[in-house]
Symmetry: C2
Subunit: 351 residues, 2 copies
C-alpha cells in the first residue's frame, strides 16, 4: 500500500512522525508492504498541497504556497477548507482507501474544536484519520465513529492516551468479550513528574518549568496542572472502553497547585504518596468520572508510579484487574502512536 | 460461526472453559456470531466422540464410550490417535475451519510431549488448536507455527503466560513495527505468593500447601519451586516475542527452597525484596534467558508485584519500557485465555 498523507498540524509530534517514517522505511516496506508520501501540510500559519501527479512534498512546509495571517477562527475555518480541497485533489487515493489525514493539532478543552471539524472534513473527503489530539475522542467519539463507519474509513487515536502504548487497541482487539467496568490511573506526565519532584523538595514553579523545558508540558501548562489534560483522557477512555457518553466537562476535576502540592511532601513523611488520579466507574447506567489529587497508601498499585511513568488499571469482569504501565514517555513514543494507527489501516486495506 | 470443539484434557481449566462458554452464550452469539458444541472429549482415563450428525456431547465425559487403563506412554499415544480419529470424523467442519482442538494437558518439562504431538495431530487433521499448555510454544514454537501456516489453521496459546492477559496478542497485533529487545518479569504465581508469605513469617511448606489448596500450584509443585514453570514461560515468550530458538532447558534456571526463602525475610528487613525473576536479553544474535531468585531494590518495578500478581516488563526500541500486570489470577482468567483464542479464530473465519 502506498499511503498519501496530509499533515494537519506540523509541530514536534508530526515532525518526529515524518522522521520515524523515514527511519523505518525499509522495515515498513519489507514487513508491511507500506510506503508513504506527504502530499499536503497545513499549519496555523501556512499550507501547501502537492498536485496528485507531482512528487511528494519535502517534510517541512518551508516554501508555503500561501501565507495566512488572521484570527484563530478564520484560521481553523481555512484549515478545514484546506482539508476539503486536499481530499478532493487526491480523490483517486481517497477512493482506494490510501489517503490518510494525520491530525496533530492541540487540545481545545472548551469544545474539542477545530479538531472535531478536521476529522469530519477528512472522513467526508474519503480519507482515514489518525490523530494524537485527545479532543475528538473526548468530545465526539460516538459521532466520529459513526461518521467513519458510514464513510468506510478508520478514525484512530491511539496516541490520545499513554502515547503509543496500545491501550485502545488492547481493549478493542485483544480482550474480546471482556467487559471493562471501570479504570483508575495516572495519565498526565507533567503533574506526576511535578509531584515526584516536589516530594524531593523542589518548588512547584521550578518543577513545572523543568517539564516545559523538556517539551512534555502542554504549551498552555494550565491544561496539565488544572487537570484538563487528564480529564480529556478520562473522557476518551470512558467513551471508548465503557461506552460512556461524556465530555471532559462531565469529569469531576481538581488539579494541583503550590498549596496542594505541599501536601505531597507531608504525605511522603507518613509513608504515603500524593498522585493525580484519573478514574471512572459505572453507577447504574451512568459512568462517573473523576480527576483529582489523592493520598495513596503504600500498597496501592499507583503509589509506585513515579516521575515520567503513566499507568492505567482496568477493572474487568472476566480478567480481574489488569494494569498497563508506560515506563517512560517522549516524542518517539507519541509519534509511534501515529505509526501504529497507520499500520492498523494498512492491515485493513490488505484484507 | 458454529465451532465444533474437541477437548483434549478435561481438568479444572477445561471444565471452567465449558462453563464460561455457557455463561457467555448469549453475548457470544450476539456480539461475535459464535456458537459452540463439544463433539469430543479425551482424558487420560476416558474418551468420547460424538458422530457428526448427532447432538453435542454433554460437557462432562461421564459416560465414556470406552475406558482406558495403561501406561502413560500408551495413553498419550492413544490420545493422539483419538485426535486423528476425531478430526476425521468431523472432517466437514474441519474443512470449513470450524473444528477446534482445545488442548489443556499439563506441561511436561522433559520434552513438551505429548502436548506437541496433540497440536501436530490436530493441525494435520485440519483443526485449529488453542491451548493453555506452555509446552508446545516453549519447546516447538517454530515447528508448530510452520505446521499451522501450512495447514492454514491457527495455533494459539494466549493462556500459556499470565492466563488471559493478552500478552502474545499485544506484542503480535498491537505493537506493529516495534522490536522487543528483552523482557523481565514475575510469571509464576505460586513462588511469588510463597515469597510474599514467607516475608510475613510463614514457613516454606505451609506457604506451598496454601497454594496447592487454592488450586494454583501445579499438580507437581516442583515445577513451580524449581523454576521449571517460569522457565517454560520464558522460553515461550522468548521464542514468540524475540524470535529466539530455545527450549526450557536453555534457560539458566534456579528455583527457591526453604534456605533461599529465608533470605526473603532478611531482604525485607533491609527494605529490599526477594522475587523469582524471569528474564531474557539479546546478546549478539543469541537470546540469553534466566530464571532465579533476585534481591530487588525498592525502586525496581517488580519489587511491588506481590502475592498473586504477575508482571512482565517489555523493553522495546520505539516504545521504551512497557509493563503489563495481572493483578489477580484464577481459573476464570485461564479459561478466558481459551475463549479469547477462540474469538481470534472466529474473527479470521468471518473475514
Amino acid at each position: 500500500v502506498r499511503f498519501d498523507l496530509i499533515l494537519v498540524g506540523f509541530g514536534n509530534v508530526a515532525r518526529r512522525f515524518v522522521e520515524l517514517l523515514d527511519e523505518q522505511r525499509t522495515a515498513l516496506r519489507r514487513d508491511f508492504d507500506v510506503s508513504t508520501r506527504v502530499v499536503g501540510v497545513v499549519t496555523r500559519h501556512a499550507a501547501r498541497l502537492a498536485s496528485p501527479g507531482s512528487a511528494a512534498l519535502g517534510a517541512a512546509p518551508h516554501s508555503e504556497s500561501h501565507d495566512r495571517r488572521g484570527t484563530a477562527r478564520s484560521q481553523s475555518r481555512s484549515t478545514t477548507e484546506f482539508i476539503r480541497r486536499a481530499t478532493r485533489a487526491h480523490r483517486a487515493s481517497a477512493r482506494g482507501g490510501r489517503l490518510v489525514v494525520v491530525e496533530s493539532t492541540t487540545l481545545n478543552v472548551v469544545d474539542g474544536r477545530p479538531g472535531i471539524d478536521h476529522v469530519r472534513a477528512a472522513l467526508a473527503g474519503g480519507a482515514h484519520v489518525i490523530t494524537v489530539n485527545k479532543g475528538p475522542a473526548a468530545f465526539a467519539y460516538r459521532l466520529l465513529t459513526r461518521a467513519a463507519a458510514r464513510a468506510k474509513r478508520r478514525f484512530l487515536f491511539e496516541g490520545a492516551v499513554m502515547d503509543g502504548v496500545p491501550i485502545f487497541n488492547l481493549a478493542r482487539e485483544s480482550m474480546p468479550a471482556v467487559r471493562i467496568t471501570g479504570f483508575r490511573g495516572i495519565v498526565n506526565t507533567t503533574t506526576n513528574f511535578m509531584l515526584s519532584a516536589m516530594e524531593r523538595g523542589e518548588r512547584f514553579d521550578d518543577a513545572l518549568a523543568a517539564m516545559q523545558r523538556a517539551g512534555i508540558a502542554e504549551a498552555d501548562a494550565t491544561l496539565d496542572v488544572d487537570g484538563w489534560d487528564a480529564a480529556a483522557k478520562v473522557s476518551a477512555l470512558a467513551n471508548v472502553l465503557m461506552d460512556a457518553r461524556i465530555t471532559p466537562h462531565d469529569v469531576h476535576r481538581r488539579g494541583i497547585n503550590a498549596a496542594i502540592a505541599r501536601r505531597a511532601d507531608a504525605a511522603l513523611k507518613n509513608g504515603r504518596r500524593m498522585k493525580l488520579v484519573a478514574e471512572a466507574t459505572r453507577r447504574g447506567t451512568r459512568v462517573v468520572a473523576r480527576v483529582g489529587p489523592r493520598i495513596l497508601d503504600d500498597d496501592d498499585f499507583l503509589t509506585h508510579i513515579d516521575g515520567r511513568q503513566n499507568a492505567l488499571v482496568l477493572t474487568t469482569d472476566l480478567l480481574g484487574d489488569i494494569a498497563v504501565v508506560q515506563r517512560g514517555s517522549g516524542l518517539t513514543q507519541t509519534a509511534y502512536a501515529l505509526l501504529s494507527d497507520l499500520l492498523a489501516i494498512a492491515r485493513d486495506v490488505r484484507r
